[in-house]
Amino acid sequence: MKRSKLDPLGQAEYGILATAGGDPVSLPQPEHNPPDVSNAATLPMLGHEELAERARRVEDSFDQLHAILDGVADGITAQGPSGQVIYANTAAARLIGYASAEDLQRTPPSELLRAFELFDEAGNPFPVDQLPSRLALTGMHPPETLIRFREVATGEERWLLVKSAPVKDEHGRVRLAINIFRDITAQRRDEEAQRFLAEATGLLASSLDYQTTLEQVARLAVPKISDWCVVDVVDDSGEARRLALAHVDPAKVAVARKLQEIYPPDSDESQGVTKVLKTGRPEMIPEISDELLTRAAKDEHHLQLLRQVGMKSAMVVPMVARSRILGAISFVSAESGRRFDFNDLELAQHLGRRAALAVDNARLYGEAQEALHLRNELFSGISHDLKNPLTGIKGMAQLLMRQVRRMETPDRDRLVEGLESIDSIASRMSAQINELLDVARLQMGQPLELESRPVEIVKLVREIVSEHQKSTEAHNIRLVTSVPRLVGDWDEVRLARVISNLLSNAVKYSPSGGDVLVEVSREENESGSWALVSVRDWGLGIPRDELSKVFLGFRRGRNVTGIQGTGIGLASARQIVELHGGRIAVSSMEGNGSTFTVWLPVGPRVSSQAEASPTLPEAA
């Protein structure tokens, strides 16, 4: 007795596709027997030819009846008074899990019932004596009844709408029960799917914490959609991360985790999550055979674990939003015996899109929050940076006013020195404001226009060093030059800002004082002629893992606390250097200071930045 497998694509719910060709179905005796032409003698009125013609017509009409009944999407059976099946159309045989109507008819009623567990709509066991066919055999006309059939052997489930009616003879005795089954499994699943989708969407929209909501969605998916649900997301660095793994049975989850721990998925896998994350296209394996497992297994132990999980059918859908692959959701059926079809895949893809939207929204929100936070930090940094010089200007002005008011003949030297101080602080503020405008322009993606003209960099650096030396007593800023003069076509103000920034960092981040070494030299190599300015300190240094980030905006080392500043200096320094066609690099050791080096092209500017990049040892 061969059990038919359900159509994995689910296109044959009503058995329509299975009726072609007309199985040799037996109709109940005696109607079934075609007329015997040998009885022709008892029909003397008819000639042989006419008899044969009639027989053919009767036979034709039986064939037509078979064809009609087999063409009906619903399953139809007729049971005799003792309950034995005396007729079944093809759809009925298939619905009950038999290859043919004959197979079904040969099976005793008791064995038929043993093969199934029956449940009502609420999930309670359905009493056999209340089956519509049983009631019909007692002469009743039972109402249409919804019964869930669970095949004991495979665990497969079907929802059948059963209608039965008695056929009585002229004495009122029940001769037959005619049963009609309608398979509404697909509708039930569809309803369940829609409910699931609505619930999942609600969950996803309920919070911006997508990690939690995706876990909840995975738990919601089992066992309604699948026995397993796994969610993988791609994080900011492009790495896939398993966010959720759900199964109704926690012991199974443990097996799956172990499986993943021992046999992590290869990055070059030609199918499964890795492939979906790469292609952004869904994958479905309607039927996972043992052969497939054997092929996929890396060794005997792996195969054993894979079998333990008991995968029957699987689908993996991508989470795509704004053309970016954000992750994948995998659904695996195991003990339920469910085979995924294209309807399931469609549902899963819907869910994937909604989950992707939720993840995308949450990430965009996070980025916006981060940007807001950084902007607030920048604002408070700017106001701090501007209030300090303002204090100097205001204080000095008040002080000078006091003296002028108080004295007949004010101290001329002090007056000049004080006014110079105000002027120099105001210049510093103006430079700071220009720098902020540059930063704002660069952040908005607007290019800066360099105001280049010949600049003698040795003199420029010497001036900056002397200025910074004035502001610190604890540091000894040494300038070493290997050339007396070095002229290039640069934007003097912005270049001064870059070098000044490096120097103030060197002073700031060597709080215990000590040497700061500034070197100016010239370098010739295959990429051209370069002016080199390096600033070396022996201060705090930069932690190794933060070295690559120092030129990004708003960064400060985590070993730095209590040092003020907005952290925008190095980001804009890099942009200014690169606009000149040069390059800036850093090397550092935590606890032993940092060296920042700037390469600037000497001579005619090369148009492309890439071409102009000097060959230099890889920084960081």
């Binding site: 701090h384 209030k387 204090t391 204080g395 002080l399 006091r402 004080g418 101080s421 610190t472 604890a474």
Partner: protein
Amino acid sequence: MPGLGDRLLGESGSQVDGVSARMAQARPYRNHETQVAASGPVLIVDDDSQLRRMIRWLLEDEGLSVETAATGEEAIAQARLHPPALVILDLNLPVRTGEAVAEELRSVHGAALPIVVISSDGKIAQRARRLGASHWLSKPFEIDDLVVAIRQALYGAA
């Protein structure tokens, strides 16, 4: 320290801008007979050199002796050399916070060491209270307010 109160009050009385109104509340009681000379210099701790120079001139004009420091480390070293009568402390110093510097100075020079906090930090009042500063001034401040605060902290005039 004669003269400080005289000059301060004489001046503020003739001021016409908004400073005098605020000064009225903070104005010290004029009683220079009871004033005692400060027992040490005023230590200015701020990483802005122009600001240090401005405050130095201001206080020297008031007849006070002044030492300066750009960092917490320098401040502690200076205080060892010249134990201060009062510290003017910027809260946002490089590396070590004003709070940490205040704590160390007090552990060496006594809990009673008066500290006048100056800062552009938005939470200056809270921070100043927490570290037990006698006065605090938000940058940018009026120099007269600073003089009043120092005078009150040094001589306890109220």
